[in-house]
Every structure is written in C-alpha cells, then in structure tokens.
C-alpha cells in the first residue's frame, strides 16, 4: 500500500485537477444559460473519482475510452480547457470532432483519449478490443474505460465483460454510479446493491468504492490499474458518486428527484470535503488551495476567451472526411 500512497505534491496536483474540472464545468453551465453554447453535460460530483482514476493511470501512456461525464479525466490526460470549450462552442479547432459531435463527446489523440459516442455502452467492447490489441502485441498499456451505472444494462456491457474475463484483458472498467440514468433510478436497472456484484458472473475482479472519497478511490483505482498491467486481468471498479446537477442542460430533474434529496446533494459534493481533508493532512495550505482555485479560474477565463473567439468550421466539414484515404 505505502508505495501507492500519494505524495503531498501529488495530492495538490489531484486537488488542482478536480478544481480545474469543476471551474470549467461551472463555466459551461453559465455559458449555456447565456445561450452561448447549445448543450452541456456535467461531471459535477464525479470529480474525485475521476481524478483518482486518472492519477492511477500512466497518463499519456495508458489508453482512456471515457464517457460524456469524464471532464476531469480528459483534462487529466492533457486535454487543454480551451479544447474542451472549442467543442462546446462547436468551433473548428475542437480536437474531438471538429465541431461535428455534441459538446462533451471528447476525443484527444495526444492524450490517448478515444472518441466518446452518444449511444451508451458502445465504448466497452471497443475498450476490450483496445486491450486485446495491447495484449496480443505484448504491450504494457492499460485500458481504462468508463460508463454510467444505467448504461451497464446494455448488452454491450455484458459482452465486453465476457471478453475481459475470458482473455484476462489489461483493462479497468470504471462504473460511475450516480444512482440515476436521467430519471430512472438504479433499482430499475438492477436488482442488486452494488454494480460490482456483476463482476462475479464474468470471472473478473469487482470492487466498489466511495467515489466521493478521492483517497479511497485512488487506492482502489491504483490497485486495479496495477493488476491489469501485471497480467492480472480486468477489474470492474464501481465508484459511488453523486450527480450534483440535472442529467444535462436539457433536463429538469426537479420533476423526478425529491426536493429533500436535491437539497442534500450539497453535502455530497466531494470538493469541499477533499479540500478540508488535504488541508487537515497538511498536503495543502489554505493559501495554496486558494492559489489553485484562482489559477483554475484564470485558466477557464483564458480558455473561454480563446474558444469563443475561434472560427466556426468551414461548411465543407459537414461533408467529410467520411472515408480514410488509401495507404498500403
């Protein structure tokens, strides 16, 4: 355990990543309310778990096939804030898709981040394929893929986990369980208490962890990534998180989420908790924390300015490229 305990420096970096994601996320909601961007889907409440998983990876070396809430993860894998916002604004410079996909459908090749799709669950068999290729060539890269708990109901989840078990793939399947799929509560997706209970049926390791607790999540993620790298196969890692926002900017969750539950959400926010914890541990001073927060905000401001000023894609990008050119 001790060798995976994060240093004070790393803890500060982790906090910085969580804050960067949060500040950018908040800005997106504002931009949406201002009518400047057409859509936003948020990672708020998932950040601690996402940061933990990201830091457990060898970032830039390992492969990430994320889902739409994984803002902290893609930032952690090196995607600049401005690049995220270029997507939100649908601008040409959007490295995910050149403005073709909806916001938050991340792709960031320099960071080994694969393209987020809308149809949920499709990334899982693909992640298994990424891991299979890695295994066949004897590489040491681990594949991390993420999915919401509701989306584990899709057949693709099952099929991917079968591959994972049968071939002992070097993969971590992170289920970000926020207990809702839009309005549908977890109990209508599964008759079990923990998503990780599904692991046994596939012969893979199953772990559930409090995803609001960054340190616990980091330990769990680190073990899973290390195990995958050392040939021990796949872990189904459930992080229990909270969706602090409506499903997306198109959603009104007060229709289906009890007022008391919504009110109690503030208490679940992992960030204040993390901040206090790190200060108590001495990993962070109040001053350093505030510096991190201010730096994140300036970064958001700069990214916002840059993205908003960026040009739209040329119309021709609507038409292609559809097919890759030939090469031998």
């Amino acid at each position: 355990m001790s060798d995976t305990t994060p240093s004070a420096e790393m803890l500060a970096d982790m906090y910085a990543l969580a804050v960067r994601a949060r500040k950018l996320d908040e800005r997106c909601w504002i931009l949406h309310r201002q009518g400047k961007i057409g859509f936003h889907i948020s990672g708020m409440g998932h950040e601690a778990a996402q940061v933990a998983v990201t830091f457990a990876m060898r970032r830039g070396h390992d492969l990430l096939h994320p889902y739409y809430r994984d803002l902290a993860m893609v930032l952690g894998c090196g995607m600049p804030m401005a690049d995220v916002l270029l997507g939100s604004f649908g601008r040409a410079g959007d490295p995910s898709s050149g403005g073709r996909q909806m916001p938050n459908h991340y792709c960031y090749k320099p960071g080994n981040v694969f393209s987020v799709s809308s149809p949920v669950g499709t990334q899982l068999p693909q992640a298994a394929g990424l891991a299979l290729a890695e295994q066949l060539r004897g590489g040491d890269r681990v594949v991390v893929t993420c999915i919401g708990e509701g989306s584990t109901s899709e057949g693709d989840f099952h099929e991917a986990l079968i591959w994972a078990g049968v071939r002992k793939l070097p993969m971590v399947v992170v289920v970000e369980n926020n207990e809702y799929a839009i309005s549908v509560p977890m109990k209508l997706q599964m008759a079990i208490e923990r998503v990780s209970d599904r692991a046994g049926g596939y012969g893979v390791r199953g772990v559930s962890v409090d995803g609001l607790d960054l340190l616990a999540s980091y330990q769990a993620a680190r073990e899973a990534v290390d195990l995958a790298r050392s040939g021990g196969g796949t872990t189904l890692l459930e992080v229990r998180v909270a969706r602090l926002t409506p499903h997306s900017s198109d959603d009104n969750d007060s229709v289906y989420r009890p007022a008391a539950e919504k009110a109690a959400l503030k208490l679940k926010d992992p960030l204040p908790k993390l901040r206090a914890q790190l200060i108590a541990m001495g990993a962070l001073s109040e001053v350093a924390a505030r510096e991190i927060e201010e730096r994140a905000l300036s970064e958001v401001d700069a990214a916002h300015r840059q993205a908003e000023a960026a040009p739209y894609p040329p119309e021709a990008w609507a038409l292609g490229p559809v097919f890759a050119g030939e090469e031998a």
Binding site: R100, G155, Y312, A316, L319
Partner: protein, 327 residues
Amino acid sequence: MADKTLIEGIREALDEEMARDERVIVIGTDIGVRGGVFLATQGLYAKYGPNRILDAPLAESSIVGVGIGAAMNGLRPVCEIQFADFIHPAYNQIANEAARMFYRTGGQYPVPMVIRAPYGGGVGGGLYHSQSIEATFAHVPGLKVVIPATPADAKGLLKTAIRDNNPTLFLEPKKGYRMIRGPIPEDQGCVPFGEARVSRPGRDLTVLAYGMMHFYALQAAESAAKEGLDVEVVDLRTLNPLDSAGVLASVRRTGKALIAYEDNKFVGYGAELAAQIAEDAFTALDAPLLRVAAPDAPAAPYSHPLQDAFLPGPRAILDGIRTLARY
C-alpha cells in the same frame, strides 16, 4: 378549433388509446415520472400508474424484445426509443423477430406493437440525435413504418398504429414536435395506413415528401408559387405500406417528380419512390427524376454552420423545383 402541436397529437393518441383499451401499455426509459424526454407521456404515469407506464432498464434490445413477448401474451405495448439513433441495438429484435414472427408462425402469432421514436435533425443534436432511419426499416418486410407530418395525422396515425395487429415503427419528426402546429378535430379518429395525402394540389410538378421535409416542401411550394410555379405536394404518411397508386397518380398528372427526404441520399427511401416511378410511370415522365436529400456523410453535425450545410431544407427543395421546372 385552436391549433395544437405535433407532440400534443402524440400525447392525446396515447392517452385516448390507453383509456380505451387497458391492454395498451407503454415501455421506455424516462417515460414515467419524467414524462419522456420530449414529454410525449407527460401526465400518463400519474393517470395510468406503474403497471401501464413502465420505465425500462437502459437496454433497447430488451425494450423491444420484452414488448414482443408482452404482445404475444395479450398486451399491446407501445415501446418508446428515446432517439431514433438509439434504436440500433434493437435492430435484431425488430428486424429478425418482431417483423418476422407472423410469417414464421404461418400467421399464428401477430405482434401488435408500436415502436415510437423521435427522428431527424435540425435540433443541434449532432451525429446521434439527428438520424433518419426510415429507409433501413422500411426495407424490413413485416414491419409497418409511419411518419406523420401534421398534428392531426400524428394523433390519427398513432391510434391506427396502436390498433393495428402488426409491429409498427412510428417515427416522429422531432424538430416538428412544437414547430408543426395545426388543428386536431375533437373527434379525431384513426387515419388509415397506405393513403398518401395531396396536401397541396398543383399542376406543374409533384414534390413527394414526409415528416419535416413535407413541412419544408409546403414552404418551398409557396415560394415557387410566387415565381409562377404550381407545385403539387404529396405527404406519404405511411412509408410501408406505401400508397404507390397515389404517388403514381400525382406524378402522372404533373409529369415531373421531386423526391425530398432528409435521410442520406444513397439507398434512401426516396430511391424506392424513384424506382417505382421509373418502372410504372415512365411514359408519363417529362423530365428526369430529382432527389433532394442529405449528403452521404454520417449525420447532421452539431456545429450550427455544419448542421445548416448538411440538412436539406426549403431552399434546397425550391432549387430542385426550379431545376425541374426549367427542364
């Protein structure tokens, strides 16, 4: 009679059919308390309860598969797929199972089931909230495919679909949910399948369309009228069964046909219309056929300039009308 929206037509049909026949149930995601992401089922959960309005796990193949089973055991499920783009995981249950069940049992097991799905672009939905899927499914024998273009038809055709004993894919032009308005008669009944509607008579040429493109076709025809062109617009209403006789009759009258669809052009539904005309109304044709459709790229992109460049609309149809008229 105050105008209503297309989505109101859908909701009224569901409500009235559920009231009329307790075998009708609705299965889908977020259709319960949430009332559906487009609010098609708003109020129905409160009215009919959890045994009639069933929030499903997020698993489209099962939404359809469970629907098939329920239909074979005495119920009449209406399955909602949240966006047409997400029907793909259910393709096997639809094409191999629902559509083939009646034939493969020699007529013993009908599958009285409706699958509703919002489809089409123009709402900033990008590649996966904009797709047109009608050609793919109209090609499946044993499946009916319906697309309403007015609020009254939305109601009347959905009622027919629910009462029909066959699996029916009911595609709703989502951009038109609130944009397309019109009267719905108090006593709006069933609108029969297989009857296209001449929504605007004209002599110079025929525009064949459905869904949102029908809405645009009327606009284009209006503009063309200002240029002295008398355009007939035909709303197909049901793609399978297709009212071939109605289509051919119109083309025979005008001698020219523009076929408008929002789907990708290549092997799209309009190709079938073109083929039937070229086979059966060949001698009546005074000009080549002309298709106005989306390019053969994946789907309408998110970024607004790209979306606009991608989607065919009134302008593209008007351009086509002018081209044909000049011929």
